[in-house]
Symmetry: C2
Subunit: 222 residues, 2 copies
DNA sequence: GAGGTCAGTCAACACTGCGTCGACTGTAAT
DNA sequence: ATTACAGTCGACGCAGTGTTGACTGACCTC
């Protein structure tokens, strides 16, 4: 579902033929690269399958040999970005008690950097999410992971007495993640009221700390 | 820009002809009603101009007599909803000092009720905002008004000593409004991690109070 | 080295939805 | 009666999507 369907290569691999790189691998990469390049210039909806194909040096019908649709290309791109974000954020919350403020900042900053580096893809996904159930599902799954990670961290901080009780941890985690998502979107898209890109990490950090600890300067482990 | 172009009627009115309701008024309303009705069932992108026209008892070309595009219909619908929200929220922040918690709650609850009552339109706008500059502009303008109202309220609360200093009031106002928008979207759309519709007002209220006052129980006027 | 298989390719087609043009009708003011 | 205009729509052109069916060339197998 998530990965692009490349029937030919799957069959080949299954039968042990063509173990090395094939023409198809290059074409597939070329399509993905073309997509990310074109997305820097203009929105996803204004890019046609034909342009994607031409950009990769193939005809439109051939495009459909590699991807079932334009959306599937974006889905693959999104998959990579979220994997990158997951990798960057991984384990950051594990040793939260040592220095809560720095850890939370690291988490937010890493997401900011990853999304910022791939803003074209992220913005395109926000655009397509509304119309494409596949993208919606993938984003929901990814978000759910992040929500659960934050929820667990909040519960742990409360248990050790660093954070006060209050809202259900899950609701808090959903709201904070939602806030980040929308704030980053506004900042990167640049339309409507937005926080300056240079300030956004610190602003979000202050709000996270305030909501979780009710102070801007949470205590270290006692 | 925002209102639908109905050239015929404007001309008529300008020359003093047809002072009463014309056929055109009915058709226009019928199109809008059809749009809002169809939106309950399925997303905006899956509704064609033809359906809108048929639903209003006219042919597709005739639709274009009333609206320049499908998006313009949604724009008109959005305009009404935001006006309703503005009206509902109007003056709520004026006498904040009397009972901050209740006032903020009223503000959030009224937005919640308005958006909830027209969730189909709101969700459709979120869908189209990505591809339609007109909708984007309108939403940005509306949001800017709300951000400024909240910013002013925060400044006032700080000035009277009820709220502590901290983040720039504008950044705070942007972040809180962004949070609400995204959280409501998730709640009403029902995909991905979301806060239960019955709890969402209270969850948002707690977070607003915490972020603005660093307490859940802000003081009344001293 | 003849025949088979399969990755990879694309011209041509069918389909859907958008927006426009130009011709038409009915009503009401002059 | 003529003029004017709100209101209507059949028929068109256009752009983009996704599919079909036929082709090429590499390579494997006997």
């Amino acid at each position: 579902m998530t990965a692009p369907r490349t029937p030919g290569r799957d069959v080949a691999v299954a039968r042990g033929r063509r173990p090395g790189r094939s023409v198809g691998d290059d074409r597939e990469s070329a399509i993905l690269a073309t997509a990310e390049r074109l997305l820097q210039r203009r929105p996803f909806g204004e890019i046609s399958v034909d342009e994607l194909a031409r950009g990769a040096g193939i005809s439109r019908p051939t495009f459909y040999f590699y991807f079932p649709s334009k959306d599937a290309v974006l889905l693959t791109l999104l998959d990579r970005v979220t994997e990158e974000a997951d990798a960057a954020a991984c384990n950051v919350l594990d040793r939260l008690a040592e220095d809560p403020r720095s850890r939370w900042r690291e988490l937010i900053a890493r997401f900011h950097d990853t999304f910022g580096a791939h803003r074209a893809v992220v913005l395109a996904c926000a655009e397509v999410r509304a119309t494409n159930a596949e993208v919606r599902r993938l984003w929901a799954r990814v978000l759910e992971r992040w929500v659960q990670a934050v929820e667990a961290a909040v519960v742990a901080e409360r248990r050790r007495g660093a954070a006060p009780d209050g809202l259900p941890a899950r609701d808090l985690a959903i709201a904070l993640n939602s806030m980040n998502e929308r704030v980053w979107y506004a900042t990167f898209a640049g339309d409507g009221p937005a926080i300056d890109e240079r300030d956004v990490v610190d602003v979000l950090l202050e709000l996270w700390l305030t909501c979780i600890y009710r102070t801007t300067d949470p205590a270290r482990v006692g």
